[in-house]
Subunit: 213 residues, 2 copies
């Protein structure tokens, strides 16, 4: 019974995700679904990528949070179009939330949309949004064992960012173990080592995203 | 329809949680449900508290994870009784999982059980396990805005640990903002500033827990 209902919910989500995907394809819009633990650097990555890429492409942002508009205010203060989704307790975004947010944004053709998902390494990985790319951030202080514990998230990622590289000298983090964990799940996924404090890896990451537009 | 089913699931959980609570009360067992983001220090806190407290009280551990037995192996290697629960994709522990794990442990009277929940600041806060105490860990690198975004978790905590204090000099973290965020939700909750690298705050935390046994 429960399983059947879950199946219906997921299939309704998949149908709307498919509609979103068609809409994005028709308008030549690239959408990047950014997923990570709380505090891994989702908003910071969006802010820094906007700085690097906004000369080349029109950018808007969908901010997902359980509550608050702290992150969307940060982006809005930079002068960019942002829609806040508050899930009111919900632990992930779904395709229908994205559909409504995109209607509110009315994005330009050939533009880029960053979607900041709810801070959670579990649930967001199960919900297709119709996005072009799933970008997963893992940060150094979280530890090197995350790919072994949050399998679905790392398995389905199209690109992985290892963030807060500037902290690696202060914590125990075995980079080889982390990378082996990812390779076992997702052999060819690109991994970018990044620090927004030192600037490490940001150009490489934004160049990679540009190459996918 | 969906809402009704969710209500049934939650009320079934609450019934089993109530059974657990009675069982723990009858046997004079203290159970501490430890919740946090991935990588905030849940396993480390259990290991360090076992070191400080195992002379005084019999301790066992329930380890919740989506997949893997990395954490339970750590605890087992110290010679303590541990039961691993793998939720197989599920984003939180529930009362029935705890009931089964406790049957497997068969804990002594007047003992202590640490429950490590799935790494997630969202879903675990909605599920009563019948525990004596909800201990929420937030770590410095996650940032000071977490209480404003993950309201239910901080609102329902019985004790809060601010972990990785040794990293505060390397990141932007406004402690006043963090504490104000908590006080707005949960005025009298004790907050312990802790670092397992430097030893800061561990005795204060273990003394507090001892006082609650």
């Amino acid at each position: 019974m429960e399983i059947k209902i879950m199946k219906n919910i997921m299939s309704a989500n998949d149908d709307i995700a498919e509609e979103n995907r068609k809409y994005f394809k028709n308008k030549n819009i690239c959408t990047i679904n950014i997923m990570a633990s709380p505090g891994a650097g989702k908003t910071t990555i969006i802010v820094e990528l906007i700085k690097k890429m906004s000369k080349y492409i029109d950018i808007s942002v969908i901010e997902g949070d359980i509550a608050s508009s702290i992150d969307s205010e940060k982006i809005e203060s930079m002068g960019y179009k942002v829609v806040q989704i508050n899930t009111g307790g919900g632990c992930h975004l779904d395709a229908n939330m994205i559909k409504s947010a995109v209607e509110a944004i009315d994005p330009k053709e050939k533009s880029l949309i960053f979607i900041e998902n709810v801070g959670n390494l579990v649930c967001p990985s199960s919900f297709d949004l119709g996005e072009s790319m799933k970008l997963v951030i893992s940060s150094i202080p979280e530890g090197d064992d995350k790919p072994f514990k949050y399998i679905s998230m790392f398995e389905t990622a199209d690109v992985i960012v290892l963030n807060k590289m500037d902290l690696i000298k202060y914590v125990d983090f075995d980079k080889t173990n982390f990378i082996n964990g990812i390779k076992a799940l997702n052999l060819n996924v690109p991994i970018f080592e990044v620090s927004f404090k030192t600037g490490e890896g940001i150009i490489e990451l934004s160049d990679y995203i540009k190459s996918k537009l």
